[in-house]
């Protein structure tokens, strides 16, 4: 089996994987980082979003081998020194989550959105989050949270 190495949340990992092993499987099953969720099998729901070299990707649609040598951040790596990331804080303050299952992917997508667009309008937020499905919140409070998170991130 081929070996893959990558940095995940600032720590270096390597491991043997089958060629068909997905990045999401590697992160969850081999590294035990279960914050990244699997909500579908057609690359539609966004529960699995992580950052690879600073850009958001659906880890269920990326082979682990494709991330060889990459710098990966998962939801577990977002808070620093026990301090929630401003986007995490904004989701909490604005009740942007209910069951929490979509939340890791939603937050990772939202951070990427704001990285690319520091001061997004409601319309921009709604358009940009259309790769992330949430069945609980109706998105109303997610949109509010992303706006507040953008401000918190200094937008």
């Amino acid at each position: 089996m081929p070996t893959v190495s990558m940095s995940v949340n600032g720590k270096q990992y390597s491991g043997e994987v089958e060629a068909r092993t997905l990045l999401s499987q590697f992160i969850r099953d081999q590294l035990g980082l279960t914050g990244t969720h699997i909500g579908c099998d057609t690359s539609q729901c966004g529960a699995c979003v992580v950052h690879v070299d600073g850009r958001s990707v659906k880890s269920c649609t990326t082979l682990a081998l494709q991330a060889d040598g990459a710098d990966v951040t998962t939801i577990e790596g977002l808070a620093k020194d026990g301090q929630l990331h401003p986007m995490q804080e904004a989701f909490r303050e604005n009740h942007g989550l209910q069951c929490g299952f979509c939340t890791p992917g939603m937050v990772m997508s939202a951070v990427d959105l704001v990285n690319n667009n520091p001061n997004p309008s409601e319309e921009t937020i709604r358009e940009n989050l259309d790769g992330n499905i949430c069945r609980c919140t109706g998105y109303h409070n997610i949109v509010k949270a992303v706006k507040a998170g953008a401000q918190g991130m200094g937008g």
């Binding site: 579908c40 939801i75 929630l84 009740h95 989550l97 069951c99 069945r135 919140t137």
Partner: protein
């Protein structure tokens, strides 16, 4: 009001772990040495099984076992059950087919379960499942609701002629027909309540473990009601005796009804884990969820409303065919009967109502409760009829409602369809909603839209629901096989902090926060010192779980009762310590004090005294730990008015929701932030039903056409508007918190509001989902007809 007490927008305790990836969902649980399960499912909608050859699969790499329905039956594992008996018009009991967890000689829908393959890895189990050879004789199938009971339709279960489960009625047909004969005007409508697939974002899953030493079994499962799951598994399915089975529902990623039921997969996984003497994990792929999660709705209805010359409703008549799917799921039979027809009075004084419901089997996934369960279907029928009646009679849709509302002085109000409403102020909610929606400015907005070539419409929905499910005796009288009380335990620990153990289950509702607010407020302990524990049959009392917007109304009441017991005992302890008479002890803000003095003891000190009873009342048991069971006196009846305003682009048929206004009466609200979130989410699901979602089976083959997120349109962020919410509370007099429940309201109210708005805009009738194609076709066929 305490900082985190009742009525405050307290941020949630559970969010820290969810936001940092530390939640504990089913797929995050792994047991040492676990194997993995994958199910062999029927590719056919209706087929006879001649034989199952498992030999090649069993010989595949890593395979531990391949088990079929034959082996399950031989082990005495009983069929899945439906817990609600419905009788037909003629008094005969419903026809319930055998529902083996693994099929024995016949499969009845695409996705039906044939075998469980257990292997060392998930991929090995999945690969080996391909090697199971099933010899099928494919039979013709029927998936269509209206056609299932038609003459010549394929027969699904040999012992159930005409595919009819029941032909049920409520009300006196002769009386209603008589009233119709005197009507000034009759409005009638044919409606389809489209079939939905619940799609909680966490797929269903199970991890089962057997301990050969103690013979204990543990099932981790995505359940809204773990205690009920255990009861069914032991009493009916005989998988394990109740005292040897522990069911744990950890963090669960949404339910919406779909995780109430006991399904084939967790049953087979638990059974197999004992057979192979290894923990087994099964996690559904989303495609499997589409195929075999219980679906929702799926009614075909003809309904009529009779009016006098003033637009007063004098009678209503409803005839519905309800698709139950291939088998009866856990509560399926009750949904289109007692959870549906009993709500047809709506908020109105309609004096006589007749409803008949034919429950039919089809070659589709079983249909059961989905957010609202019967009540959205009822509201859709009532509110579309009312809106159309207003238009046909030239009345303002708000005005026809005003004329027919149950007046405030009529409560408690007994409707002609079973329920007695406790309280409400329907006119007030209507006026507040009209204001929130700027109803007065509508004409100008319509004119403006017209000048831009757009069609603007507004739709109202004045909904009612029966929540706080439910008084046990009433449920029993209607055929329910369970009691529907709730239980809670408040345990003061010796150091004064508090563990609340509840029989409900949170899968997004925020019980860890809300229940802690209630206890902190009632007992005067710091909110931070209250921990809520749910979801484990080994922890806390038996409870009935979370569904039907019952957790605060029934579970919250059980917590209040347990708190009363704590206070009562605390008074005895304090009286002794303070050398006063028990009658002189007052409790407030966490302090027991002697009336008229400054002598006091706080509840933490009382708890310590209870566990270190050195100076303690004679004969009183040590400890401060009280359990209460609460059986509600009645259902609760949340209500409200939702108003949707849409704009339709006649060139594309696209419907844009411009404004959505909701005014709800949930009684007292513990945490407005959480309740508003529930309303938002419910509305999103209702808007999804109205505009986007629809489960489609291919008529010929019985294949599920909408089997993934590429074919089934889930509402996404850019499909929905921002939502304006107002609260118009009339506290319920029937429970100690004055609450009514809020979880389903949005999904109940919104489909009618949106479709009423769309039909107002396009001037023609339309069925859900009102997709751009359907709207465009409707507009163009209306145009063609006019030309």
């Amino acid at each position: 009001m305490a900082d985190n007490g009742i009525g405050t927008r307290t941020v949630r305790k559970e969010d820290q772990r969810f936001l940092t990836g530390k939640g504990n969902y089913l797929d995050d649980i792994n047991r040492p040495g676990q194997a993995y399960a994958y199910f062999v499912r029927s590719p056919y909608a209706n087929a006879k099984i001649n034989g199952v050859d498992t030999s090649a699969a069993a010989a595949a790499p890593g395979v531990v076992a391949v088990l079929t329905g034959q082996e399950m039956a031989a082990d005495g594992i009983g069929p899945l059950i439906c817990g609600w008996m419905i009788s037909s018009k003629d008094g005969s009991p419903m026809n319930a087919p055998a529902h083996p967890a693994l099929a024995v000689d016949k499969v009845n829908y695409v996705g039906d379960h044939v075998a469980i393959v257990v292997a060392d890895t998930y991929n090995q189990a999945k690969d080996a499942a391909e090697l199971v050879e099933v010899d099928y004789d494919e039979l013709p199938s029927v998936t269509d609701t209206a056609g299932a009971a038609a003459a010549g339709a394929p027969q699904i279960h040999a012992d159930i002629p005409g595919n009819i489960c029941y032909d049920w009625e409520l009300g006196d047909k002769a009386v209603v027909d008589e009233a119709f004969s005197k009507a000034h005007h009759v409005t009638s409508l044919d409606m389809i309540n489209n079939r939905l697939i619940p799609n909680a974002m966490e797929p269903r899953a199970a991890v089962a473990e057997y301990d050969p030493g103690t013979e204990d079994m543990t099932l981790y499962t995505t359940s809204q009601n773990p205690h009920v799951c255990r009861l069914i598994m032991s009493a009916f399915l005989q998988v394990a005796p109740e005292h040897k089975l522990r069911v744990i529902a950890p963090d669960v990623g949404g339910g919406f009804g779909s995780k109430i039921f006991v399904y084939a997969e967790e049953t087979a996984t638990l059974w197999a884990s004992r057979r192979v003497n290894r923990p087994i994990k099964w996690v559904a792929e989303r495609s499997e969820s589409f195929l075999s999660d219980a679906h929702g709705r799926d009614h075909v209805t003809h309904a009529e409303m009779a009016m006098d010359e003033n637009g007063k409703f004098i009678a209503m008549r409803v005839s519905t065919i309800a698709n139950l799917g291939a088998y009866l799921s856990t509560f399926a039979s009750a949904v289109p009967t007692y959870l549906y027809a009993t709500l047809l009075a709506g908020q109105y004084t309609t004096p006589v109502i007749y409803a008949e419901v034919k429950g039919v089997y089809t070659n589709t996934s079983p249909v059961d409760a989905y957010r609202g369960a019967g009540r959205p279907e009822a509201t859709y029928v009532v509110e579309r009829l009312v809106e159309n009646a207003a238009r046909e009679m030239g009345l303002d849709p708000a005005e026809i409602r005003r004329r027919n509302f149950i007046p405030n002085d009529a409560f408690p109000y007994e409707t002609p369809v079973v329920h007695t409403y406790d309280c409400g102020d329907y006119p007030k909610a209507l006026e507040e909603a009209l204001k929130l929606a700027d109803y007065d400015g509508l004409a100008a907005r319509k004119a403006d839209a017209q000048s831009r070539g757009k069609l603007r419409g507004v739709g109202l929905s004045a909904y009612i629901e029966a929540c706080g499910i439910a008084p046990s005796a009433a449920v029993g009288a209607l055929g329910g096989g369970v009691g529907l009380w709730e239980a809670a335990q408040i345990r003061f620990n010796p150091t004064g902090n508090v563990t609340v153990l509840a029989g409900t289950h949170s899968h997004g509702q925020g019980h860890a926060t809300t229940f802690a607010q209630v206890v902190a407020d009632k007992l005067g302990v710091p909110y931070e010192n209250v921990e809520v524990v749910e979801g484990d049959t080994d922890k806390g009392p038996f409870g009935m779980g979370t569904y039907g917007s019952r957790s605060i109304a029934v579970g919250g009441s059980a917590i209040m009762k347990a708190a009363d017991k704590i206070i009562e005992k605390g008074k005895k302890i304090a009286a002794h310590a303070l050398e006063a008479a028990e009658e002189d002890i007052e409790f407030s803000g966490g302090n027991f004090s002697v009336a008229g003095t400054d002598k006091a003891m706080n509840i933490g000190e009382v708890a310590f005294a209870a566990y270190v009873p050195h100076n303690y009342p004679e004969g009183l048991e040590p400890g401060l730990d009280e359990t209460a069971f609460y059986d509600p006196l009645n259902f609760s009846f949340p209500s409200g008015v939702h108003i949707a305003e849409v704009e339709v682009d006649p060139d594309t048929g696209v419907v844009d929701i411009i404004k959505y206004s909701a005014v709800d009466d949930f009684g007292n609200v513990i945490n407005p932030m959480i309740v508003e979130g529930q309303v938002h989410g419910g509305i999103a699901q209702g808007v999804g039903q109205a505009l986007l979602e629809g489960c489609v089976y291919d008529d010929d083959s019985g294949q599920l056409v909408t089997g993934s997120y590429m074919d089934y349109a889930m509402p996404r962020a850019d499909d929905l508007p921002s939502i304006d919410i107002g609260m118009s509370p009339v506290p319920s007099p029937l429970n100690p918190l004055g609450v009514k429940g809020a979880g389903e309201a949005g999904a109940i109210a919104s489909p009618a509001a949106v479709i009423n708005a769309v039909t107002d805009a396009i001037g023609a009738d339309i069925d859900m989902p009102a997709t751009p194609l359907k709207v465009w076709q409707t507009l163009n066929s209306a145009k063609a007809a006019a030309e």
